[in-house]
């Protein structure tokens, strides 16, 4: 699984800053475009301020990604917003991702003053997806978190009004989970991956 | 060939006592007025839809008959055929009486409207003509409130109360605005007011004393009185679903529509009579007698009606508290000021 192999090689090479623009099949242009120097500078800045907490930092196709552990989320976000050099005052988007063996939450943050942005990611264990809410820092996260709870089942501690936003309240299960198959007539099955979905996952050549 | 002649003929034909011809004249006049009123409402609705269409770059009704002439007749027929539902919990009797209480005042006002010169063009030239109009037009408040209350649903009750508050708060400026012409003509009777504006264009009350103020105050207050567009709070679709006539359908709803459009013609007729010299022609003496006076009267009233429709097309709705504020804090002081100025004008004019 390409995701796992990316994880291994970062562990072994003790978290260097790795431009990931490696050649990939089906590329139209001849050579690899080096990532924008400004993004490298931003990644450098983030790496220096959160050196210890940052598990991994990747600059790939125009987006800087910084992965941190869930425990340190609240104070890193607080620092991101208040630190004058960073001042990420705008939460553009909050995405919940199901990586089969674990869940992920990605925060796309942007600074209107310094005009730079990056993606902060947090990995959560699959069985107990608990994470503190950031609505106290950015109020815009309120509905994003309710949607993540509703569709992905991630529980945000301390959220002022955590209930389903899109689906009817009495709906069971979280549709965006990979194994979620909604058979209209019976209860959605979450025991394990149904056959046809499994085949599709291993179908990577 | 006047009405009284016809009445005597009918009285003698049926062998009734001679004196009862007065009754028959009244009944005949009432019938004529009712017929005239229904006719004007039909024409008015059709013209409104065509004019709105023109203003809004579209055609307006074209299906029913050439150029959509029978559109209003079709509407009326539809309303007649539609089933007259009465909500179960509603108070039946009041539910039935309310539309009549709204319709009758609009119809009664026609008694004093001077369509032309001389007695045979006015139903009854009461010497308290104007006061009669103001008094009669205050009755429909009861009809509106009862309609809202009788249909047993909180939206219509709210709508009823709101429109009653609106009607009452705009009766005051309307009555005050009417005082201007009364003072200038020193009489309440409509015919006298028109006679006082006899000397051509600049003798009209709209130009005498403070030009236009009395006219504008009267027109705006009357528009609020008949829930015309900038003040059509009760049926503010976007807020309450509908006003006091939400539960009415079929013929009863037609009463409300009839009352609204008849009232819009009456206020234009009264405005024309009070401020635009009623049935007088703009140039003194020119075409100023007989049937021509009726022509001038209708020309002026329909011009005002078109002005009202133009306003209907362009203006959005006012909020409730703005409406009340506008009424109490602007209209009434203006009306009082107008009365003061006209009073001074008349007093000075007479040499004290």
């Amino acid at each position: 699984m390409s995701e796992e192999e990316k994880l291994e090689n970062t562990e072994t090479s003790d978290k260097p800053l790795k431009p990931a623009g490696k050649a990939s099949p089906g590329k139209a242009l001849a050579e690899v475009t080096p990532p924008d120097p400004r993004l490298l500078a931003l990644a450098e800045l983030l790496q220096s301020t959160f050196g210890d907490a940052a598990l991994e930092s990747v600059v790939d196709r125009g987006m800087v990604t910084l992965v941190i552990s869930p425990g340190t989320l609240l104070d890193t976000c607080q620092q991101l917003k208040t630190d004058p050099a960073l001042s990420f005052d705008y939460l553009a988007c909050l995405t919940s991702i199901d990586r089969q063996d674990h869940l992920e939450v990605a925060y796309n943050l942007r600074s209107l003053t310094h005009k730079h942005e990056f993606c902060l990611k947090v990995r959560l264990p699959r069985d107990t997806p608990e994470i503190p809410t950031v609505t106290s820092i950015w109020k815009g996260a309120n509905w994003h978190e309710r949607e993540a709870y509703d569709l992905m089942g991630i529980h945000f501690q301390g959220h002022p009004d955590l209930r389903r936003i899109l689906l009817p309240d009495e709906w069971e299960g979280h549709p965006l989970r990979k194994y979620y198959v909604y058979e209209p007539d019976d209860v959605p099955s979450e025991q394990g991956p149904p056959e046809h979905l499994l085949i599709q996952l291993e179908g990577v050549e | 060939m006047t009405l009284t002649g016809i009445a005597e003929f009918i009285a003698s034909f049926f062998g009734l006592p001679g004196s009862s011809s007065v009754w028959i004249v009244a009944v005949l006049a009432a019938a004529i007025l009712l017929g005239f009123m229904l006719l004007t409402v039909l024409i008015l609705i059709y013209v409104l839809r065509k004019l709105l269409g023109k203003i809004q770059a579209r055609l307006g009704p074209t299906r029913t008959g050439p150029k959509g002439i029978f559109q209003t007749a079709a509407d009326a027929l539809k309303l007649l055929i539609k089933e007259d539902t009465i909500p179960v919990k509603a108070d039946r009797r009041v539910f039935i009486v309310a539309p009549i209480l709204v319709f009758v005042p609009a119809y009664l006002v026609y008694v004093v409207v001077p369509f032309g010169e001389g007695n045979h063009f006015i139903a009854k030239d009461l010497n308290i003509g104007l006061l009669y109009i103001v008094a009669v037009s205050s009755i429909n408040v009861i009809g509106v409130v009862l309609a809202g209350w009788a249909s047993e649903n909180k939206y219509s009750l709210l709508g009823g109360m709101r429109s009653a508050a609106q009607l009452i708060s705009y009766e005051v400026p309307q009555a005050l605005a009417v005082l201007g012409p009364v003072m200038l003509a020193e009489s309440l009777s409509m015919q006298d007011i028109v006679k006082a504006q006899g000397e051509g264009l600049f003798s009209w009350f709209i130009f005498r004393s403070l030009p236009l103020l009395g006219f504008i105050v009267f027109l705006v207050a009357s528009m609020a009185e008949i829930n015309h567009v900038p003040f059509d709070l009760p049926e503010g679709e976007s807020e309450l679903v509908a006003g006091f006539n939400v539960e009415y359908s079929g013929m009863r709803f037609a009463f409300f529509m009839l009352a609204e459009f008849a009232a819009s013609f009456t206020i234009c007729a009264i405005a024309a009579t009070l401020f635009l010299g009623g049935w007088h022609s703009p140039i003194r003496g020119f075409l100023d007698n007989g049937w021509w006076t009726v022509f001038w009267f209708f020309l002026k009233s329909s011009a005002l009606v078109c002005l009202l429709m133009w306003i209907r097309a362009t203006y959005p709705r006012v909020r409730v508290d703005q409406l009340m504020e506008f009424g109490w804090k602007l209209m009434i002081p203006l009306a009082l000021f107008n009365v003061l100025v006209v009073g001074l004008y008349v007093a000075l004019g007479k040499g004290g």
């Binding site: - | 919990k89 108070d91 006061l131 009669y132 008094a135 205050s138 009861i142 209350w149 009653a164 009452i168």
Partner: protein
């Protein structure tokens, strides 16, 4: 029996009838409605007496303002939809007694005053005469002004009381 007297009888039946209904009906909004009809009947009688100004004022003030005021008061104060009041209570006998005595008093006064029963119509009271009576020189100017001040005070008082709830 010309139409003048017959319409008088019609009007008086209407006034007395609806007045009776006002007192006897259970649903309070119906009473208010009949109150309006009573006032209209009285206005009709004024018109019959050629006091047109009074008739119009009667309609304007009583029907247009006081009845609406009562309707507003009734609807705003309590849930009026569908409840019916018990019209009679313990004080009924006392009420009947006072009504009867009042009736006798009027009857006595009515019997021994001689009304000027002149055949022709009474002189028309035109608005000019009323106007000069109220504001003309040496007439009822003072009581008229006092009354208006009283009304003003009442209105200001009402507003103060109503506003009192907010702050």
């Amino acid at each position: 029996m010309d139409w003048h007297t017959c319409s008088f009888y019609v009007l008086s039946v209407m006034i007395l009838g609806s007045a009776l209904m006002v007192v006897s009906l259970r649903n309070i909004v119906h009473c208010a409605l009949f109150l309006a009809f009573t006032f209209m009947g009285v206005a009709g009688v004024f018109a019959l007496l050629h006091a047109e100004f009074l008739a119009a004022v009667q309609v304007l003030i009583y029907v247009g303002a006081i009845t609406v005021l009562i309707l507003f008061a009734v609807m705003l104060t309590q849930k009026t939809i569908g409840i019916s009041l018990k019209q009679t209570n313990r004080l009924a006998p006392l009420a009947v007694l006072s009504a009867v005595t009042f009736l006798c008093m009027i009857a006595v006064i009515a019997l021994n005053t001689t009304f000027p029963t002149s055949g022709q119509h009474t002189v028309a009271v035109s608005t000019q005469t009323i106007g000069s009576a109220i504001l003309g020189n040496g007439s009822y100017v003072v009581p008229f002004e006092v009354a208006s001040i009283l009304l003003l005070a009442a209105m200001v008082g009402a507003i103060v009381i109503a506003r009192g709830q907010d702050n």
